[in-house]
């Protein structure tokens, strides 16, 4: 058996294996465990500084092959959860980038700057109709 294969211990209705936390962090292990709670009983224990032991116990009697298969499915789910986490983190960074680009667009003034510029331009423009307004001082003195 290769060193990379899941090392399992099987006894009646239960399969146990340990996970290296430097490969799959606790969030990933918890994510996978959550999906197995309705399939049986899941128990986590710490068996080393960076090792988590997972024990899966079926609700009904199970053969050794079924228990090995269950452990294999859990291992697949670990990979799935790890990938989801990485994609989530990558998407998070992409979302931040898009938001930053939208708020601080580099190719021109922001919407607020454009509006202020338009207002300034309107104030500077001459009033063709020259309608007097009460708050203006009479020009003649």
């Amino acid at each position: 058996m290769s060193e990379n294969e899941l090392q399992t211990e099987v006894d009646e209705r239960r399969v146990r294996f340990s996970i290296d936390e430097s490969v799959y962090d606790l969030d990933v292990v918890m994510g996978a465990a959550y999906l197995f709670l309705d399939r049986g009983y899941v128990f986590l224990d710490r068996v080393g500084d960076r090792r988590i032991q997972v024990a899966l116990r079926t609700r009904k009697p199970a053969s050794e092959a079924e228990l090995h298969a269950l452990a294999g499915e859990f291992a697949n789910e670990l990979l799935n959860q790890a990938l989801r986490k990485r994609v989530g983190e990558a998407n998070g960074r992409l979302r931040e980038f898009i938001m930053a680009k939208a708020l601080f667009a580099a190719d021109g003034p922001s919407t607020i700057d454009r509006l202020l510029a338009e207002l300034d331009a309107e104030e500077m423009a001459a009033d063709d109709l020259d309608i007097p307004v009460p708050w203006e001082k009479p020009s003649g003195g």
């Binding site: 606790l26 969030d27 918890m30 465990a33 959550y34 709670l37 009983y41 899941v42 128990f43 986590l44 224990d45 710490r46 988590i52 116990r57």
Partner: protein, 77 residues
Amino acid sequence: MAEPIALRFHKSLYDEDAVRRAAERFAALGNYELGASEADWLVSIVPVRESVRARLGDELSNHALFETILGRKGMNT
């Protein structure tokens, strides 16, 4: 008097509140006591009926994990 079921939950993996909530959830099926060692949260539970003994520890453990995961996701029950 019935023998208690002794359960332990490693502190680095299970939240104390989650273990307490799980024990409370099953209080109708057993008289429980909570405790702690240096590394673990401890639950000792005496089933009120022998018929529930086989499953009580497993169900309570599952619930403690469930509550812990919800707590980590900020979705406490």
